[in-house]
Structure formats: C-alpha cells, structure tokens
C-alpha cells in the first residue's frame, strides 16, 4: 500500500510539474464557458439587409421601420434596382433583400392586396430560414395590428417556455461542455500518459517493479479522476454564478453521475492506450473516436432527433449522449434518479465493457 501511495505521489508530481498542461486544463473550462456564454449564440441579431422600395410611401416606410427596429435586422443599403441583388449577395455581407412592389400603399388601399418579396442568401440555409421566418413574422404582426379592429374572430397564442425562459444558449452548452471536458481529461490525457511511458520505455521499468499491473493502471488513472472532477465543479460553479444556469435537482446525484461518466471515460482511455504504442496514434484515435462524437453525436450542438436515422443509431452507441441526457434532466428539469436510471445503467454497462476489453488486451510483457 505504501508503494502504491508512492506511485500516486509520483504521478501527481508528473502532472503538477508540467505547469503548461495544468494551466490549460484549468484555463480551458473557464475560457470555453465564457465563449459559449457570451459569444456563441444561435440567435440572430443585426443581420444586414438591403431594401428595394420604389414607392417610398407611408406603408412601406412603416414596415421598413418595424423591420429595422426589431433588433434582428440592420440596414446595409437601399437598392436602386432588383438587378443589384446578385452582386450585393456575392460580396457576402448582406443576408437578405426585402423588395416591395411598386405603388405598394396604393395597391393595398385599392385592392386590399399587396406583395412583398423576400430574397435570402441561402448559401447559409439555417440563417436564411430563420431570417425569413422573422421577417414574415414581422409583416404578419403588422397585418394583425392593422386588421385588429376589423376582424371578428381571433385565436391568440400564449407561449410558455419551460425550463429556460429567456432561451439562453448557455443552458445547452453547460452540459455539453462538461461531457467534452471530462472526456478530454479522462480519456485523452490518461491514454496519452500511459502511451508516453511506453514510448519513452519507462513502462518497462514500471512493469518490472513490485507494483502489480492493476496498481500501475489505477495509479496512472487516479490523478486524472481528481483533475476531471475539479474541472466539472469549475464548469458547474461558473455556469451557475456567471450565467445563471440553475441546478434544480440534487447536486449529490449530479456529482455521482459525473463520477460514473469519468470512470467510463477513464476505462476508455485505458482501452485506447492498451491497443497502441505511440502517443500520436493514441491522440488521433481519441480525437476521431472521442472528441468528434462527444461534440457532434451527443446532442451537444445539434439535436439528435433531427438527424437521419442511421446517425441516430450511431448517437445511441455514444456514451456522452447518455451523460448529457442525464445532466440536462437533473440540472435543468430538476428530475430525480427515477427519471435517469435507464441512462445510468447504460453508462455502467459501457464502463464494464471497456474495462473488460482492456483487461483482455493488457500485456504485462511489451512486444518487441
């Protein structure tokens, strides 16, 4: 036991002496959370718009005003003809062109009908779709206000946004960031630290020492459990204090589930290091096999439900997806264990699977 303690102390010194790595390990959650919280919003503000308004009458001016004061749009320029639009789009700044038909107010008065054309630069389809939605919404609202005195029957929608009243993006990102950072530290760092010993040849020294293989692995892994756990706490605290992301459920349960996820990631890291001998390969495997799925196939950035079915199947094979579901459920919806037991069982299963595989793969003797 004393030997083992000594070994753990050695591992900690390894990590703490490498201040660059430490700086990044603890700086990363903070910087990324700030990025997600302040910089990355999917909500669109001040999209540049070009307006072609040949009649310049009271109604078109009123509509333009409504559009420009909505906060979604900012006037880039007024157009003199429709044919300019293509060139303007090609320059790349203007996302949308609003075209009123000539004699707009007059037509509206006489026939009760007038036409607006919205041209969107759909080389970015997501933004284009959102902007067109916003713009038609603004026109519809204008119509409602004009017609309200004349209409006899109207259904009024009452919208309630559950769990996240202000539609903050950071609510989605905190769980995702936790999953990503814990995976990075637990799986990537451990696999690198074990393969490094192999690459430098010091693994052999450890293997001939009186420490048992299991002790070596546990000793290598233990400091990273510690680091990962601290990082998780940093993200949770910052998210809560700076961005007001609530923790509605039990904190204890949340931390327990995080520990489970960390051990799953660690066993994955051990598995990776047991099948490769070089850090470069371990890193590439981790990047392709871990980071990509954690970011993209977990519902972190892109909702799983919208993907094609084959992708959804893939998503269900990715452990981070279950973890993200669990913490969203506990943190944001305030659910108890009864709501997440299925996902917990899946995580347990993955942990067991990876451990069993790596024990089978682990060699006491290094291949020559």
């Amino acid at each position: 036991m004393k030997r083992f303690a000594g070994f753990i102390v050695k591992e900690f010194s390894h990590i703490f002496r490498d201040y660059r790595t430490l700086l990044i390990l603890f700086g990363m959650p903070a910087v990324q959370l700030m990025l997600f919280g302040y910089v990355l919003t999917n909500e669109i503000r001040d999209a540049r718009i070009a307006i072609f308004d040949p009649s310049k009458d009271a109604v078109t001016r009123k509509i333009s005003d409504k559009v420009l004061s909505s906060g979604y749009f900012k006037l880039d320029r007024n157009l003199n003809s429709v044919s300019e639009i293509d060139a303007v789009f090609r320059e790349g700044n203007v996302k949308l062109a609003l075209v009123f038909e000539p004699g707009f107010a007059e037509k509206l008065d006489k026939t009760g009908n007038a036409r607006i054309q919205i041209l969107a630069d759909a080389s970015d389809p997501n933004t284009a779709n959102l902007l067109v939605n916003y713009l038609t919404g603004i026109v519809s609202n204008y119509l409602i206000s004009v017609n309200s005195s004349r209409v006899s029957q109207q259904i009024i929608p009452e919208v309630r946004m559950m769990y996240n009243g202000q539609l903050k993006g950071v609510f989605m990102f905190v769980p995702g960031l936790m999953a990503m950072l814990l995976m990075l530290i637990s799986a990537l760092m451990t696999s690198l630290s074990i393969t490094k010993e192999k690459e430098l040849g010091t693994m052999e020294l450890l293997l001939v020492s009186p420490l048992r293989p299991a002790q070596i692995i546990v000793g290598k892994v233990f400091p990273y459990v510690f680091l990962a756990f601290i990082d998780a706490c940093i993200v949770l605290t910052l998210g809560n204090l700076v961005f007001g992301v609530p923790i509605r459920g039990s904190v204890g349960l949340l931390l327990l589930e995080s520990l489970l996820y960390i051990s799953m990631a660690l066993s994955l890291g051990i598995l990776i290091s047991s099948i490769t001998n070089s850090q470069q390969i371990a890193m590439m495997i981790s990047l392709v096999a871990l980071m990509l799925p954690t970011i993209l196939l977990s519902g972190f950035i892109f909702p799983v439900e919208n993907m094609p079915w084959i992708m959804q199947v893939l998503c269900h094979l990715m452990p981070p997806k279950y973890y993200i579901t669990i913490i969203k459920s506990i943190m944001l919806q305030g659910n108890g264990f009864m709501y997440v037991w299925k996902e917990t069982v899946v995580l347990l299963f993955f942990t067991g699977l990876f451990l069993a595989l790596s024990i089978r793969k682990f060699n006491v003797r290094l291949s020559v």
Partner: protein, 372 residues
C-alpha cells in the same frame, strides 16, 4: 537546396513508414465528412407534440389537424390531462404541448377571441425559438383562414392582406449539407496541418533525435522548410481528396474557380503549419503540444462561423475574430464554392491570410533555436 530535398525525403519516408499514417490521411476525411455533414443539421423535423384538447369542438379539432398536417410536427400523444402531458415533457418524451382549454370555441364565437397555450421545452433555446415561430405561423394561417371563410364579411370589413413571397438564392432547397461541406473541409485541413506539424518536432524533442539534427550542418531555414513542405503537400492533397469526396458523396456545388480555392488553401496552410511549428517550439512534450493545439483549435473552430453565425456574436468578439485564420478561409471556401465569388470579392479575406502567413511564419522561424 539539395539539403532541403533530403530532409523532405526523410520526412516523407518517416511519415509513410508509420503504418497508422495512411489510414489517418484517407479515413479521417471520409469519416469526418460522413459524420459531421449528416449530424450537423439545424433543420427541425418531427417536433413531438402532445395535444391536450379539452374543448373537443369543431374549431379545436381543425386546429389540431393543422398541426398534424404540417411536416414539422408529429403528434405524439393526445389526452385530456395537462399534468400527464407535463410529466411527459419532464421525461423528455415531447417537445411541445398544445393546450386547448375548455370553452375555446364558445369564447371565440362569443367574445371574438380565444386563447391556446403552447408549452415549449426550451432547454435548447434555438429549437424552442423555431418551434414557437412555426406554431405561431400555423395559428396565424388558421386565423386568416377563419376570416376568409366568410369572404363577404371580410370584404365589408376591409381586411388588408400583404402577401409575402420568399425565395432562397444559391440553395433553393435549403440543403444544409452543401453549406457544411466547405466548412468541414477547412476543419479537416486545419486538424491535419496543425496536429501533424505541431507533433512532429515535439516528438523529435521528446525522443531526443532533435539533438542529432541540431549537430548537423543543416541551417535553420532548411530545417523548417524541410519540416513544413511535406505537410503542406499532404494538406493540399487532403483538400483535393476532400473536395472529390464532397462532390461524389454530397454533390456540393462548385460555382467558382477551383484554382482560387487552392491558391487560398496554400496560403492558409502556411498559416496553420507555422502555427503548429510555433506550438512545437514552446512545448516540450507531445501531451503539451496536443493540449495547446487542441485548445486553440477549439476556440478557433467555435468562433469561425462553422456552426454559428458570426454576425450574431457581440461586437468585441467580432473584432477579436479578425485574428482567426479559420474564419477567413471558411468564408473564402463558402463564397467561392457556393456563390461563385471571384478574386475581387474574396480579396480582403485573402489579403488577411497573406499577412497572417507572413507574420506567423516569421515568428516561427525567429522562435526556433538550434541550441536548446
């Protein structure tokens, strides 16, 4: 010059003797394109709705059928208990509850207005915004339909109508894939360039072989050129390979001049490779190099406009983004491939890349020391 050629030869030998290198060069782009492009979609389909219709009148049933008829919605369950539907949302089984209170039709006829409730799961703020927009649009259409069903009344009342028509240029079907592919190719070139070049020198440091090179008469410039050129070639090859895959698998449009793409790519790769070189001069182990590159890469990628639009970032972040080489190259790729922009259109971005390349290459050369 001959010395450089020898170093390049040595590097290529080293790269290709590593058995895992070829899969990385060929499989990574394929996997990335297939997974990223298919996964990265914001399109909303199949919004799961739980209907709680407590009115069960003709009007309310028709409203529900409007939702059923829309391609965006899938009615998951229908019941008479709001609490049950709320519990379903708590368990994550539905995204929205359409709650029609009792006496809905009556109050519509009697008072001229009635209320329905949309309860939206807003954990994902963006989806919630879209769900709200779609639902409101359905309701507005229905409102208009209710009015128009009585045209005489509508004409008498002098109802105004503005028709909005919209068209989506360059991508009329709103195919998200064609938008993602160019950006993902940039990601691919970046990852390969940054990681391979960054790792390469650090590895020599860690194993100690850098000393052997340092004692040879090879001068600094030769060494750096010898290290950079192989990865520069591999990077350009990756881009060509990725473009081919994109064309074959996703039929991405190539409106503009491909030479323009490769011209920008060759400058961009210089930026990325010298950045990797810079990382390798300030770190001592591969683990460190990996973490440092990973850290910058994630920040660069997230701020590059690949997944979220740059226009919606706060002004200070947009200014900061001028330091982000990825942002320029992604813009160039998208502009040239999707819209067919010419050199004049991309020249501000191209100029920024050139400046960046000169600066980072200079810095990397200045930082590299033969004596450790």
């Amino acid at each position: 010059m001959r010395t450089i050629l020898y170093i390049i030869q040595k590097e290529f030998l080293q790269i290709f003797r590593n058995r895992s290198m070829l899969p990385i060069i060929f499989v990574v782009p394929l996997v990335q394109l297939l997974i990223l492009v298919n996964a990265a979609t914001y399109e909303m389909k199949h919004i799961r709705v739980a209907v709680v219709d407590l009115d069960l009148s003709g009007t309310s049933r028709r409203l529900v059928s409007k939702f059923q008829g829309s391609p965006f919605y899938r009615v998951q369950s229908a019941g008479f208990s709001y609490d049950q539907a709320r519990d379903g949302m708590q368990r994550g089984e539905n995204d929205m509850i359409l709650h029609i209170p009792a006496g809905f039709e009556k109050s519509l006829v009697k008072d001229g207005s009635a209320r329905v409730q949309f309860v939206v799961n807003a954990i994902n703020g963006q989806s919630a915004g879209l769900i709200n927009a779609y639902s409101t649009r359905i309701l507005l259409d229905y409102n208009r339909q209710l009015v128009m069903e009585n045209p005489a009344e509508a004409a008498v009342a002098g109802i105004r109508n503005i028709q909005t028509e919209y068209s989506f240029w360059y991508n009329p079907k709103l195919n998200y894939k064609t938008y993602m592919v160019p950006g993902i190719l940039v990601l691919l070139v970046t990852i390969i360039g940054l990681l391979l070049s960054g790792m390469n020198i650090v590895r020599e440091k860690e194993i100690g072989t850098i000393e052997q090179i340092n004692v040879t008469p090879i001068v600094k410039i030769q060494f750096i050129a010898g290290k950079l050129i192989p990865f520069w070639i591999i990077g350009l090859f990756e881009l060509a390979f990725g473009l081919t895959l994109g064309k074959l698998l996703f039929d991405i449009p190539m409106e503009g001049n491909l030479w323009l793409i490769f011209l920008s790519a060759s400058v961009y790769l210089l930026v990325i490779l010298s950045f990797g070189l810079l990382v390798s001069t300030v770190t001592y182990t591969q683990q460190q190099a990996m973490l440092v590159s990973f850290f910058f890469m994630v920040v660069f990628i997230l701020m590059s406009g690949l997944f979220t639009s740059i226009e919606s970032m706060p002004a200070w972040a947009q200014h900061l983004d001028r330091l982000n080489p990825l942002m320029y190259f992604i813009r160039i790729m998208r502009m040239v491939l999707l819209k067919g922009s010419g050199f004049a259109d991309i020249s501000p971005h191209f100029r920024a890349l050139v400046i960046y390349a000169v600066a980072s290459l200079g810095l990397a050369i200045a930082r590299y020391r033969k004596v450790s």
